[in-house]
Amino acid sequence: MSVPILKTEGLTHVYSQGTPFETTAVENVDFQAERGEYLAVIGHTGSGKSTFIQHLNGLIRPTSGRVLFDGEDISKSKEKLRNIRFKVGMVFQYPEYQLFEETVYKDIAYGPGNMKLSKSEIDERVREAAAFTGLSEDLFEKSPFELSGGQKRRVAIAGIMAMRPEVLILDEPTAGLDPVGREDILANIRKYHDSMGSTIIMVSHSMEEVAKNAQRLVVMSGGHIVMDGSPAQVFEHGRELTEMGLDIPIAAQIAMKLRDMGLSVDKSVFTVKQLADSLVRMGRKDCD
């Protein structure tokens, strides 16, 4: 097996160490992400997921443990750390607050500009990122502050995609958008994933979103990774997830209720389609 693109070993982070406010946000997390994987990190507020993902591009230094990118410790040197930030792109929550340039074009070009690329290379990347996020080129000369909320968010995400990160981390990229906007952003991310072959790590609250998009789910609770597996595997533990204060997809909820009522609905059901198929199959069996 090849070297995982990102790996953490015994990652621990303690806030305000040595003071009465000492809190352990992340404790002894061993995690790895393969090249080209689309995975989602879920967990309720305060589960340590935000702290955890900020370690992955070196914005926070671990109290103990290591973060390895392509097998190498990322905090070896300052120069290395800066390069890592270009390879591991991070889209924060409400990223539209980071926009600052006069025009959309310049704002998307800020990241690649910091990478010291040639002008033509930057231009190519800006156009590519705009295409990924569905921004038309006539918006380039507009001020980002004139745009709508959804468009601002796309500009912000394009600003990260333009760095062509090998790992793209997104912290709740759809928070505060309407359903159409959410769907669009998710489609943009999928497009980037499919055509660049990059690893995607998405933090989300919405289980529906996660169930539909991610290949692998990592569940965090109390600073630990408590579950790690395919959506089908994770949603099998519907009850534990609910106890952790997490939602499960509506189809999985219905399946759980039906099982409680004594029906033999498949345990791995988590999309509406699977549920429907499973029910139809059961109906057929009854008819036979």
Binding site: Q98, L99, Y110, G111, M115, M163
Partner: protein, 217 residues
């Protein structure tokens, strides 16, 4: 006096001492400079160092002055919340209303400003992280380069601050806020015996130090 204040308040001596810690260098330096560079009757002479009687007295004065100054401000900020501080200020300055000075508005502005300092700090951290993730470099380079590097930080910060101010204004207006005229308070400040005692003691201290101004040891 300062000792008395500390004893009366609920602030522990430890917090005050830890507050003094960062200023220790300044305090020690002032003490030493005053000790060595005051002329007068020489007590000890050693190589180029001369310690005079006046020097020691001066040093003691200066050091205790600085310590007193710092503890006094500490006592104020540790015992009094910014809210009651602005309330008190408003009361004290309310006589200026007769001269058409908008005291209520000023103190409201002050409490809002104080309220939003932590919010702004948090916001700065967030934006800094976001720009760092895009390869921003805030620490290296010369003065011009550093100033330029601040643009990606300051522009979003200002924009969000203006937006917040706007939202706050709308929120206040939708709750029918319209200035100080005839407004009642949630917390009413009343003078209590302790307040009078402190004021009396302070006045006494001032008078005493004024009377003693010419006296030297």
């Amino acid at each position: 006096m300062a000792v008395l204040f500390i004893a009366v308040s609920t602030v522990s001596v430890k917090t005050i001492l830890s507050g003094l810690k960062p200023l220790i260098i300044i305090i020690v330096l002032t003490g030493l400079l005053n000790m060595f560079y005051t002329s007068g009757t020489v007590l000890v002479e050693f190589w180029i160092i001369k310690i005079t009687r006046e020097g020691i007295i001066n040093a003691a004065y200066m050091v205790s002055r600085i310590i007193m100054l710092i503890t006094a401000t500490f006592m104020l900020t540790y015992t009094t919340s910014p809210l009651s501080l602005t309330d008190g200020l408003e009361r004290l300055l309310s006589f200026l209303k007769r001269f058409k000075v908008p005291i209520h508005e000023l103190s409201m502005m002050m409490s809002i400003a104080l309220r939003f300092i932590p919010t702004l700090i948090e916001e700065t951290g967030k934006i800094m992280n976001a720009q760092n993730a895009r390869g921003a470099d805030f620490d290296t380079g010369g003065l011009v380069k550093k100033a330029k590097a601040m643009i990606p930080l300051l522009v979003p910060l200002f924009i969000s601050a203006f937006k917040r101010a706007d939202e706050l204004a709308v929120a206040m207006e939708s709750r029918c806020y319209h200035g100080g005229e005839g407004r009642t308070r949630m917390r009413v400040l009343r003078m209590r015996a302790a307040d009078w005692v402190v004021i009396a003691l302070s006045i006494m201290l001032c008078v005493a130090s004024w009377l003693l101004r010419g006296v030297t040891l």
